[in-house]
């Protein structure tokens, strides 16, 4: 039995977001939505995290940062792109400094749409990520 899905700890990274999506991510932690009831903890530490939640697009400056955080996370891990910007660049897509969505540099598993993404959608994305986490940890333990 895998416990990965019962205790998804996440790290939230703000790429070049307008902060709209970040506020919605934090709203998930408030008493109204309370994601901790699913065991979700916002760790802020890549080494403790299972889910990498990214808001905002990727630019030249944060490209390395995002990769670094991803590499520091122990597997199994899942990447969730939150908001239009993280999915494909959103309204900043045409900007000279924006490279595009998160999938330009990382293998994104779950895309959460919306501008800003609604807390319900984010929770839905996290729940999907959790199911994927289970699958990944199963395939890892079989691979052993």
């Amino acid at each position: 039995m895998s416990f990965a899905s019962k205790s998804p700890w996440l790290i939230h990274y703000d790429g070049s977001s307008c902060n709209g999506c970040d506020i919605e991510v934090l709203a998930c932690l408030t008493p109204v939505y309370d994601v901790e009831r699913f065991g979700v903890i916002n760790t802020g530490n890549p080494k403790h995290a299972d889910i990498f939640l990214i808001t905002g697009g990727i630019n030249k400056q944060n490209e390395e940062v995002v990769k670094q955080i991803y590499d520091q996370m122990p597997s199994p891990k899942v990447v969730v792109a939150v908001g239009a910007c993280a999915c494909n660049g959103g309204i900043f897509k045409e900007c000279y400094n924006i490279m595009g969505g998160v999938d330009k540099v990382l293998p994104v598993d779950i895309y959460v749409s919306g501008c800003a993404a609604r807390p319900e959608a984010i929770i839905d994305g996290v729940v999907k990520a959790v199911a994927l986490l289970d699958e990944k940890s199963k395939s890892i333990s079989q691979g052993r």
């Binding site: 700890w9 009831r37 802020g44 940890s137």
Partner: protein
Amino acid sequence: MIKIVSTVLYLVFAPVFGGLLAGVDRKITARMQGRKGPPILQPFYDIFKLFSKEAIVVDHLQNLFVIGYLVFIIFTGCLFFYGGDLLLAFFAITLAEIFLIMCASSANSAYSSMGSQRELLQMMAYEPMILIVAIGFYIATGSFSVGEIITSQTSAIATTPGIFLGYLYILTIKFRKSPFDLSTSHHAHQEMVKGLTVELSGRTLGITELAHWYENTFLIGIIAIFIINATWWSWIVALAVCALAYFMEILIDNTYARVKWKVLLNSSWIVAFGLGILNLLALYYIK
């Protein structure tokens, strides 16, 4: 015989008790904040997950130190539940603490070495009171041995109320609860992420968590031996006092913001001298 049974019970059930305590703690905390909160078994899900994850080791010495931490905490608890020497138990737990600090500082990372420095400070804050507790038990009951303390005619608390309160005060530091959770915290996202445990991941983090559960069981046991005497009903009173004390810890955790290290150090020394030493002097006087 009964000594060996209680030691084995501790070895097997301390993690269960510690985990349930953490689960209840998180539930009550969530309710105090108007949230629904995670299931009671959440800490067990967390720890099983940690043990199934890949462990990224920054420095291989870390593994050794973390295991040293666990082993000495378990040794402390076994000694205590065997009815052994209280003073020795306190020394062993200090050694365990040192292992944790070494582990954190071996990682060569800013957050984790800051965490280890703060942990040292916390030790400086609570150690005097811990020693006073041991001496207090000795003067009140005539023995350092836990087995004799719990079979004495009167409860230790009857003559050591000040020391009891002082112990409760430093317990907030030991339980890593706000306002004294300087070095690391149960709540994620403090100013230096997770402090002490920031560089630990997967299995190694799981081991520190497990050790913490063993430690909490031991610390609550100390509260109990203040109350327990030769009568059977004192055990029930002790249980109630332990539950109440832990509830107060949760309440304080949720109602106070973290203090700076100077406040921590000064206040715990003032408590140690104000309540602890005065109580000791009074004990000398009446004995």
